[in-house]
């Protein structure tokens, strides 16, 4: 009898592991499979109940809830996890509620990135101080292997970008690729230390919807600033 039980359980476990469908909840718990889990604010905050987390039906509910709360076009639908320069692990939806000004860079870049960073600071300088608390300037690294949270923190300090309104994010190769695709941003590693990449600054409203993109380096940022000011009013 015991032997039978053993065979049965091995059988069931094997099937569970192999079947694609049952893989999803397992993934959701750990790093959230992009299959099933449309990151939803409410549900991930009630994750104190581990039983709920494992329930397949709940995932469906989540996505319905999700549609009510976060709009379809919102970047908060992405469920990938990121590390900030302070070493905290966050999801993009944790940035909800503030206007986001996003740029993708890498810290060892010698050509365009310093100018992109300068563009960001230039934009920041044109925002009234009292509005800064409604803003979050987000710099995402396209070189997550090199740009660890420590390195990003050092970069922030070096460039006087360590105030509350600056956030640096390190993702994984896959989550960075996915996020770049949301921004329609292109990049390619051309040598072990260098990337080519498009120079785009994107503005998102507090609900994570893309409202404006500025392309190019050192371009007139008047339009970008006025879009931001509209949002933080």
């Amino acid at each position: 009898m015991r032997y039978l039980k053993l065979v049965l359980s091995v059988f069931i476990i094997t099937i569970t592991i192999i079947s694609c469908n049952s893989k999803a909840p397992k993934k959701l718990e750990t790093y959230q499979c992009p299959m099933q889990c449309e990151g939803d604010k409410i549900y991930s905050e009630i994750t104190s109940c581990p039983i709920c987390k494992m329930d397949m039906k709940l995932i469906k509910n989540t996505s319905i809830k999700n549609n009510d709360n976060i709009s379809q076009a919102s970047i908060f639908n992405l469920t990938s996890k990121w590390h900030t320069e302070e070493g905290n692990e966050i999801q993009l939806k944790n940035l909800r509620g503030k206007t986001l000004v996003v740029v993708m860079i890498y810290t060892s870049c010698k050509a365009a990135c310093p100018r992109l960073v300068a563009d960001m600071r230039n934009i920041e300088a044109q925002i009234p101080t009292e509005s800064l608390k409604k803003l979050n300037f987000v710099l995402i690294t396209i070189d997550p292997k090199t740009d660890t949270p420590e390195r990003l923190k050092a970069f922030a300090l070096e460039n006087y970008m360590d105030d509350e309104q600056w956030t640096f994010l390190q993702g994984t190769e896959s989550s960075v690729r996915e996020f770049a695709n949301v921004l329609a941003m292109k990049y390619k590693q051309i040598s072990p230390i260098d990337f080519s990449h498009s120079n785009i600054i994107s503005v998102f409203n507090p609900e994570g919807e893309l409202v404006h993109q500025q392309e190019g380096l050192g371009v007139n940022n008047k339009e970008t600033v006025s879009e931001i000011l509209k949002l933080v009013k």
């Binding site: 893989k23 299959m35 076009a73 292109k186 990449h197």
Partner: protein, 257 residues
Amino acid sequence: MKSQVSRIIIVFLVLQTTIYAQTRDMALVKGGRYLPLYGRDSTVVEVGDFEMDIYPVTNTEYIDFLKKNPKWKKSKVISLFADKSYLINWETDEIIKSSEKPNSPATYISWFAAKAYCECKGKRLPTVDEWEYAAMADETVKDARVKPEYNAKILSWYEAPKTNQNIVGLHPKNVWGIYDLHGLVWEWTLDFNSVLITGESRKDVDKDSNLFCGSAAINATDLMNYAAFMRYAIRGSLKARYAMKNLGFRCVKPIKN
């Protein structure tokens, strides 16, 4: 008691073959170094060993995926992940239009959906380099790019209209045992957004150095490879949420050494 156990084992063994059938649908591609049209500093690129689906993903296979992952059905998918053309050739959430064939490659699929499909199977989309590496083979050699007839054949396929309505597996397989890399549909690649050409020829000549950092490093290596130019141009013009008639996908599995 004993017979019961052995019966279970038999059932298990029978299932086992269907479970691993998936592996047989993939072909091994032995990695190596090759010179891509657009590489890193225009030098050779190293591609590791990987297994590749021998056919593009078909409508039938995609239906199966949708049943298990309803959030990718056309009525459920969110606009961040797919534009309005997503599965536009489907009658309902689970039925393709009568004009479409179950064995045709699944098209009108966004990058996000294709990526999700492959991840669900424990695979991933091929990189541009992996795809190009596998696709430079013809029926007899691994790198057929030097043969003039290889290019001519691909270009004549590109000229043929409505190939997306054909079924998979009609063309002869290449030396790796893979079908339809050319002649059926364009295919998504994992890092299609690493193609830094704007699609506007005047700009590409001038290297749009304001839009792209480091664009001077981007040069084509083989000016005669029109077919490859076309593929790179398409990749350069795509956005991840686009769903197009002539754009399907297949998956790969890297082999860890």
